[in-house]
């Protein structure tokens, strides 16, 4: 396998710690590396206070690792500046769902996807990006469920669908509001549910009233009749699942998008029942668990609000240290704080923000500006190349015991199958060693001991002993006691007749339309949207090493019409330029695209750095960047000189 010369093979596992000396990384002993890492953190905290420290935890590692990482941040350092890459995908889903229902998980289970009548996938391509989840969708389809897909592209998921609605990028709210208005006007709202379990219908009615079918067609591009069909089918379905992915959340107004979708389920009562629910599809094996464990700036383990004194109290008692009663910095804010020199030291575990964050140049500059950067990873990533200390870690999924929590909130045991390679160490062991050097004498606990600590602090995990997790092949939260199992779906309380049991009604989200920030104009006439392909995963750190017959490297998908207009042949290299940067990429002409719309992934950052093009406009509530909508222009470049031709990875 040939790779570009400027980058060492990311498949070579790190087995020796590295430290920076005279600007270069050199191998070091564990003792030296740990001492240097600890010293850097100590110096930063002593000089600039605990809030100058930031921790990026890993959504692929175990719950136990994430719990220890946030505990390290809150106890050893004493700040709430801990976050993970879920910021770049589903933080808006968590925020939106929490605002409506009080907790941030998907409300249904996989088995219910197989047992529903209508599956609406809105802004997602699970056929490629969530292949396991899509197996459940296919089972549902085989059981007779209809599949509707809302996506600007006619994706492989859409090819499976009974209906595809090709809306304009960033017009999800107008489409959702038009669907809501049509449901209301057709008298298809579930009145008993709306009355019993929701609040704010009148405001919602007023909010959606302008979004007639015609107005929505003008804004979204979806024919009025099709919108009507979507509204009526969703409202009439006895059971319906509304699923979304990053097409909803990677926008500058992502939380609003999520709220707009939740409104539809409130209007029709498609939540809190078996087979009916709302499902954000998580992208990483433990992106749900990372948040559940408190590896986010505003929540403690069990998704408990950090602002609540009563919530913090047991944690403070257990940990013997007070916890700041305010939110820490999220990932996006941390990067901004780096620029303003407020954040001086950063501890990155299993993350690669250089290649996953928008605007690579900016990200790199910010990381370079840090006083002290420690990267703990299994590979020497682009981010690790910038570090002061690099600590070789173990791979969570096969080299450590613990638990993962999947998209359906199911906590499952992970069992260690392999020892880490000679020289690499377990994440938790490394953190304990650092904590010890920073004055907290942490013995290396077993995974089960950590989990039992989680259970003692998080009510919703309380009933999940390792024995029980093994017995049930995983348990979905909440699980309050060792004697009971809760229903597989959340929020059944909303259907209760008893107002006390019903609790807080779910409010309609009063959210307005806000088009993408990066405007199209004569110079940048194409809408670039980004996403995933089947064989590759995120920045390719873990997938590029596997060969695939389907992989063609990075491509710019564009429509046959645009290709003809610009005189671009399939496979020809073109220049794509946004207001922020420019890349060369081979074109792929495909009918799944329509004129004016182009698509790229960010799986091959060594070949084409797509994040040079994207915009870092972010959602103010959740901090997610608008990866899905950039304005670009496309130019032919003619034949490339040989030195610029890159090998296709894999």
């Amino acid at each position: 396998m040939r790779r570009s010369a400027d980058h060492s093979n990311p498949l070579d596992r790190l087995t020796r710690p590295l430290v920076r000396e005279h600007g270069e990384l050199r191998p070091a002993t564990w003792e030296e590396a740990l001492d240097r890492a600890a010293a850097g953190f100590r110096a930063g905290v002593e000089r600039h206070g605990p809030d100058s420290f930031g921790m990026l935890s890993c959504a692929r590692a175990t719950n136990e690792m994430n719990f220890v990482a946030q505990k390290f941040t809150r106890v050893v350092v004493g700040t709430n500046n801990v976050d993970s890459c879920n910021r770049t995908c589903h933080a808006p889903s968590v925020a939106g769902l929490s605002a409506a229902f009080g907790s941030g998980g998907g409300t249904s289970s996989y088995a219910e996807i197989e047992d529903t009548d209508l599956i609406v996938v809105w802004g997602g391509n699970p056929r490629y990006a969530h292949p396991i989840f899509f197996q459940h969708v296919l089972k549902g389809v085989r059981n007779g469920a209809r599949l509707f897909v809302v996506d600007p592209r006619r994706t492989p998921t859409a090819e499976w669908a009974d209906r595809w609605f090709g809306l304009n990028v960033g017009t999800d709210i107008p489409l959702a509001h038009a669907v809501g208005r049509e449901i209301l006007h057709a008298g298809l709202a579930n009145e008993s549910f709306v009355e019993r379990a929701t609040s704010g219908l009148d405001e919602y009615r007023a909010l959606v009233e302008p979004w007639t079918l015609a107005a929505a067609e003008a804004e979204t591009g979806v024919p009025a009749e099709a919108i009507r069909e979507l509204a009526h089918t969703y409202a009439r379905a006895e059971r319906a699942q509304l699923c979304w992915t990053l097409g909803i959340t990677e926008h500058h107004n992502a939380t609003d998008n999520v709220r707009a979708l939740i409104n539809l389920s409130l209007l029709t009562g498609h939540v809190g029942r078996h087979g009916s629910g709302l499902n954000p599809l998580r992208g990483q094996n433990n992106v749900q668990g990372g948040g559940d464990m408190g590896a986010i700036p505003d929540r403690l383990a069990g998704f408990q609000d950090i602002l609540d004194d009563e919530v913090r109290a047991p944690f403070e008692r257990a940990w013997g240290r007070s916890i700041q009663g305010r939110k820490g910095l999220n990932l996006t804010q941390m990067f901004e704080a780096m620029e303003e020199r407020e954040l001086r030291t950063l501890y990155v575990i299993g993350e690669n923000p250089v290649q996953s964050e928008p605007e690579t140049h900016k990200t790199t500059a910010r990381l370079r500006a840090l006083d002290h950067l420690v990267v703990q990873d299994i590979f020497l990533t682009r981010t690790a190349e910038l570090a002061d200390v690099v600590l070789p870690a173990s791979a969570a999924w096969c080299e450590s015991d613990g638990t993962f929590t999947n998209s359906e909130r199911r906590v499952q045991l992970v069992r260690k199958a392999l020892d880490p390679p000679e020289g690499a160490r377990d994440d938790i062991e490394i953190m304990c060693a650092l904590a010890t050097r920073l004055g907290h004498d942490w013995e290396r606990p077993s995974a089960e001991e950590i989990w039992d600590e989680v259970r003692s602090l998080s009510p919703m995990h309380r009933g999940m002993s390792y024995a029980r997790l093994a017995e049930h092949d995983g348990i979905q939260w909440p699980c309050y006691s060792e004697d009971t199992l809760e229903p597989s779906y959340l929020h059944s309380r909303l259907w209760s007749k008893d107002p006390v049991e019903r609790g807080e009604p779910a409010p309609f989200g009063i959210v307005g339309h806000s088009p993408p920030v990066d405007l199209l104009d004569e110079d940048f006439p194409f809408r670039l949207t980004t996403g995933r392909r089947l064989d590759d995963y995120n920045t390719g750190v873990q997938t590029s090493g596997f060969s695939s017959p389907l992989r063609r490297g990075e491509l710019l998908d564009l429509s046959p019409e645009d290709a003809a207009k610009l005189g671009i042949e399939d496979g020809e290299t073109v220049r794509v330029t946004s207001r922020r940067g420019s890349v060369l990429v081979p074109a792929s002409v495909t009918e799944s695209m329509r004129p004016g719309l182009v698509f790229m992934t960010f799986h091959f950052p060594h070949q084409v750095d797509t994040q040079l093009l994207t915009i870092d406009a972010t959602d103010p509530i959740a901090g997610t960047a608008e990866y899905k909508a950039a304005a670009v222009r496309i130019e032919r470049v003619g034949p490339l000189p040989p030195e610029l031709r890159r090998e296709v990875p894999g």
């Binding site: 389809v141 599949l147 006619r154 090819e159 009974d162 209906r163 595809w164 979806v222 099709a226 009918e591």
Partner: protein
């Protein structure tokens, strides 16, 4: 659906052929021109995937129009039907009648199967080879119509006038011609280069339908037939409704070829047509097969009226009381099948009429469909009513163009008169029939393979259970009945079940059709009540010509068994045949006289099964090859075949492997029962081989005797059988007995030397042992109808 379509583009003709069947594409996503509306909205999903069953008709549409299926055409079909090209290719390549490489428009199918071979098809084969080159070759024609090609074909179902040949010519419309009996002149006219497509079209355009058809098909029938056929035919042959897919529009009958020899009237296949004793054949030759009025005037549709009076349960009761059993070969009680289907809670229920009559020597269903098509339609309606089906599928083999024409006409007329459709006879019962045309695959006549073929999958048999009555066509409760079985239902209802049961014998009730072919004076279709003997039937067929005697009779077709000429007292009943160790099968009675080359006949049967094995199961796929090899070796006078009995035990879902092996054991020159036939012109019977002396002491070269038991010489470059140096001898214990063999002997060879027979599949003369595991199937799959040998344990001497 995950579709990775090909880059090839269909030609206009291919596109038109498919779109004529399926209707114009509704959007760019479905193969039309990409429009603005396609950029924002697409339909698909369930509705798109549910069209999969139109794959076979779509392949036919292209094959009929241009003569072969190009990648571009396949791609267009795949896009229209949401089928992955690999799957569509798997289906297209399953059928013998489809070509996936360009070939001439006209294809002559020369039947070289057992009946035709016994009637001289060999000379015709030589004639075609001389004229067109070897099979698959073609004469030179004008560049845009490069002549004609030909193939050897399995039985064309025209055994009563063997030898037979069928020419199919692609075009719009597709055309066909039959030469049977195929005289050299008639064959030459089939093999002539077809006119260029343009001129053919212009001829057909220039001629009114009446004249277009006059020279061929109906020339010899009652003139009144012309009018009735031609009024209905346009609806049937071009009757695609604007929305594309009306029931009955999934087949398009071809037109007779210009200048082809006129085909004899269907009734010509029934030598004693008009006999007052006929029940099933009573209308053949007496009514116009194209006229519903004529059919009704002869008592047609009285049975349906009776059925509607009785109600579904009443119909099933009558059929059960009648004792009617299936006539396709398996003899399953029809009433039980119907009742089991009717009781299934799952809906909808389906009826499948199995008209894929492909058993060599069988032509009864063809005669019924050609000569009395309305009776098939009426009987299907009755069956559909009884089992609670709204849709019936009539699956007809692809080599029956005239039967297809007559059935299409019958369906169109029945629909027009309200005998099919949403409200049959004003009863509220809704029923319609779709015809599906096979494409040359014997296995599709198997009752579960037929489902796959109709559904647009490969026609591979499925494991049972679940049985078709539970999960059949499209996974729903289904009754599959043979044409003859269904037609029997009409007299059952008209006579009443008990009265019908009084005909025939206790174990076999009712009348039975027999397809008599071969050396008798008057081959043809005969109807006799059960109980007559084989001798009676031969006599009815005129007996043997002067100076000829019966050498053997093949009963039941290729999947049946041979009986000797002195066994004519076998009663033609299910129980009588069973007692005599044979079976009636589909009613084939192929009489081989004393000039027949039995060895060649057997080899042809073996070749047939080798060709028609669907390939799904190893025992059949490999075993049929081994069986043919054995027979060919035997014919060439080489050592007699090793027993491949394992091939004859079913390890798969269908009955083909046992059937394939069944034809051999009885009555063959080398079976024990036929040792008396000294005048055999075939291979000399081999005396039973003596038990092999086990090798003791120094190894000796193989003797002829030891070869006879299956220890055969190998190729010279194989391991030396006579080593330069004496090899060590080792003792092997087999079933408790010790045998001493040279080192390096295989277990199989040791067992054979010891006298223990080990059935093998993958062991062949031309093969050196590579892995012993390939035969493992029989150990745990077959329920040991023969004692599997105990494993051999080895001990070094």
């Amino acid at each position: 659906m995950d579709l990775r379509l090909l880059d090839e583009v269909a030609t206009d003709a291919e596109r038109d052929a498919v779109d004529t069947l399926l209707g114009a594409p509704a959007s760019g996503w479905e193969g039309g021109t990409r429009q603005d509306s396609d950029l924002r909205y697409a339909r698909g999903g369930h509705a798109a995937r549910d069209q999969r069953d139109l794959l076979l008709p779509a392949l036919h549409a292209v094959n009929d129009r241009v003569g072969w299926i190009s990648r571009g055409a396949l791609n267009h079909i795949c896009r229209r039907l949401t089928v992955p090209p690999a799957e569509a290719y798997a289906v297209a390549s399953f059928y013998a009648m489809f070509a996936l490489h360009e070939r001439p428009r006209r294809v002559v199918h020369l039947c070289t199967d057992i009946a035709c071979a016994a009637s001289g098809s060999g000379a015709l084969r030589d004639r075609l080879t001389a004229r067109l080159g070897p099979p698959g070759g073609h004469s030179d024609g004008p560049p845009d119509a490069p002549g004609t090609t030909w193939h050897e074909s399995p039985c064309l179902g025209m055994c009563e006038r063997a030898p037979a040949a069928l020419a199919l010519e692609a075009g719009s419309p597709a055309r066909y011609a039959v030469a049977a009996p195929a005289t050299p002149d008639a064959l030459d006219s089939l093999a002539a280069a077809p006119p260029t497509e343009g001129s053919a079209t212009s001829v057909s355009d220039a001629q009114a339908p009446t004249t277009a058809r006059a020279p061929a098909d109906t020339a010899d029938t009652d003139p009144s037939a012309h009018g009735s056929e031609h009024t209905a035919a346009p609806a049937a042959t071009h009757g695609c409704s604007p929305d594309g897919h009306a029931p009955g529009a999934t087949t398009y009958a071809s037109e007779p070829l210009h200048g082809g020899a006129p085909e004899p009237d269907p009734a010509a296949a029934v030598p004693d047509a008009g006999s007052p004793d006929h029940v099933l054949l009573s209308r053949i030759g007496r009514v116009d097969p194209l006229s519903l009025d004529d059919y009704r005037a002869a008592g047609g549709y009285a049975a349906l009226r009776e059925a509607l009076r009785l109600g579904p349960a009443g119909v099933i009761r009558e059929v059960t009381d009648s004792g009617l059993v299936g006539r396709g070969g398996a003899a399953f009680p029809t009433g039980r099948k119907w009742s089991a289907t009717a009781q299934q809670p799952d809906t909808p229920h389906y009826l499948v009429c199995n008209a894929d009559e492909s058993e060599p020597g069988t032509f009864k269903d063809r005669v019924l469909m050609e000569g009395d098509p309305f009776s098939v339609v009426e009987a299907m309606t009755v069956a559909g009513y009884a089992i609670g089906a709204r849709t019936g599928y009539l699956y007809i083999r692809g080599e029956y163009p005239r039967a297809l024409r007559h059935l299409e006409n019958a369906l169109a007329q029945a629909r027009e008169r309200g005998l099919l459709g949403p409200d049959v006879l004003g009863s509220g019962f809704s029923f319609d029939i779709e015809i599906r045309r096979g494409a040359g695959a014997y296995i599709c006549g198997e009752e579960t393979a037929i489902f796959g073929s109709i559904e647009g999958q490969r026609g591979e048999p499925r494991t049972k259970p679940p049985f078709p009555v539970e999960k059949g066509l499209f996974g729903k409760p289904t009754t599959v009945n043979n044409v003859e079985t269904l037609v029997n239902v009409l007299p059952v209802l008209l006579m009443g079940g008990p009265a019908y049961a009084a005909v025939g014998t206790d174990g076999s009730t009712g009348p039975k059709l027999f397809c008599v072919s071969g050396g008798v004076r008057r081959p043809g279709l005969y109807e006799l009540p059960f109980g007559a003997t084989l001798g009676d039937l031969v006599e009815a067929a005129g007996g043997m010509p002067e100076g000829r005697s019966i050498r053997a009779v093949l009963l039941g077709g290729a999947a049946g068994t041979f009986v000797r000429g002195d066994e004519l007292d076998i009663p033609l009943t299910f129980e009588g045949a069973r007692a005599a160790g044979t079976s009636l099968g589909s009613g084939v009675v192929l009489v081989l006289d004393d000039t027949a080359d039995l060895g060649a006949t057997l080899a042809r049967v073996a070749a047939f099964f080798r060709d028609e094995s669907c390939g799904q199961c190893v025992p059949c796929r490999v075993g049929t090859v081994r069986q043919e090899e054995s027979l060919l070796r035997l014919r060439s006078g080489a050592s007699p075949p090793r027993s491949y009995r394992c091939c004859g035990r079913s390890a798969g879902p269908c009955g083909t492997p046992p059937s394939a092996a069944w034809a051999r054991p009885r009555g063959t020159p080398w079976s024990r029962r036929s040792t008396g036939s000294a005048s055999t012109p075939g291979p000399t019977p081999t005396a039973p081989a003596p038990r092999t002396p086990t090798t003791h002491g120094t190894p000796t070269p193989r003797t002829p005797q030891s070869r006879a038991t299956g220890l055969r010489p190998r190729r010279p470059d194989d391991r030396p059988r006579t080593p330069a140096h004496p090899r060590r001898l080792i003792d092997a214990t087999i079933d408790g007995a010790t045998v001493r063999v040279p080192e390096g002997t295989t277990v199989l060879e040791a067992c054979t030397a010891e006298g223990t027979e080990v059935p093998t599949l993958c062991h062949g003369d031309t093969l050196t042992p590579a892995t012993p595991a390939a035969c493992a199937w029989w150990r745990w799959r077959a329920p040991a109808p023969w004692p599997p040998p105990a494993p051999a344990s080895w001990r070094r001497a």
